[in-house]
Subunit: 249 residues, 2 copies
Amino acid sequence: MSLSNPDSPLLSFDELRTRLLAIGPERYHHQHPFHLMMHEGKLTRGQLQAWALNRYYYQSRIPIKDAIILSRSEDKEFRKAWRKRIVDHDGDATSAGGIQRWIKLAEASGLDSERVERGDEVLPATRYAVNEYLNIVRNRTFLEAVASSLTELFSKDLISLRMEKMRQHYPWLSGGLDYFEARLTQAPEDAAFAINYVRENAKTRAQQESAIQALRDKCDILWAQLDALYFAYVQPGWPPPSAFRIEVK
Amino acid sequence: MSLSNPDSPLLSFDELRTRLLAIGPERYHHQHPFHLMMHEGKLTRGQLQAWALNRYYYQSRIPIKDAIILSRSEDKEFRKAWRKRIVDHDGDATSAGGIQRWIKLAEASGLDSERVERGDEVLPATRYAVNEYLNIVRNRTFLEAVASSLTELFSKDLISLRMEKMRQHYPWLSGGLDYFEARLTQAPEDAAFAINYVRENAKTRAQQESAIQALRDKCDILWAQLDALYFAYVQPGWPPPSAFRIEVK
């Protein structure tokens, strides 16, 4: 389509935001069959364990991803703003941080924290998808690295729905939802900062298109993680050697 | 010498610490002729400006270096400890941070802060030496990346002496010494953490030797920065095109 031709004129901020927001309905993972089943109450506890255990690998890589971005910025003010993300995930003196909260969720699903942290039952496909996120923030332009975080534009609605559905369908998980509670405020703050960064730093149409593409690519990385879970644990389903095997209904 | 043969037996912690500390007298930059002249009151204000302006490039890369190390750690607790260094340099809501304090020193020498931050008069050789530090923490083993920070073992004595000599010989710089004041407590804390990390993680003699070598290499990077200053601004002395030129006595 003509809009994605980098030779086209610069998008206004409204047009840019519209293009970015349009990626949500198009490819954000809220529509993935694994999530649809989750929200319909159709996942077993074992399948939710597989999700929690695999997604832990993603969570554990987020502060590493953000530190890569930090390491690429020569702007002290940018770094000061961005390092909040690392604190959000790793915690500080007053807060456990997102990684620890995710462990709590995994424990609520019935998994031992040590087993989750060890990570040796994570699906290889999960690992490859997550590592590609690190590749993007390390090797693409800095603008694309920042723009790849913009999935946070879409996460609040998904998280609100997920919390409601989890309390409804999987009440035994209710004690482990602190991670999502915290993300309800963290993610929109982070998205506002990142979209503002993209607005100010995408100065050509080609750069605007590269930012849009980075968000698309990031959505694909999230989607691929659910594909891995779905194909290993839902249907037809066999986990590769040494990956997590479902033991509970 | 036999001690540096990686096939030799593991060093005790006392032996390792002794080897590391021995690198100070051997190659730390407190003995560099540029520093000796500084402490003897023999540098002109122009030469001190050249030093402040060039060293700013080093200061500006320190939090980037630390963020690279952060990005390479998979250990949340390590990251939580190490990120202090980034805060120390970039500042937070309650503190200006080391980069800003260095600007204050440069201003006390009579330089405009904007000119220092722009960095386009930095000596190429300064830039190459500092960038090599980034290469080391990015590309060597993680142990070596951490060990390369151990010059902080030696900095307190140098900084104490420097503050005394600056107040004595260059009283017009006295208002700009906050950077050094802060480093008097920050550096020993950081060194204690890093040497403890090396103790616990250098599990073979070859690893111990690699850590010792990393500290040696880091000393050489600091030394090379003063060589660049000395050869451009002290003797025989000509700065390359577009580098800072001395304008004041």
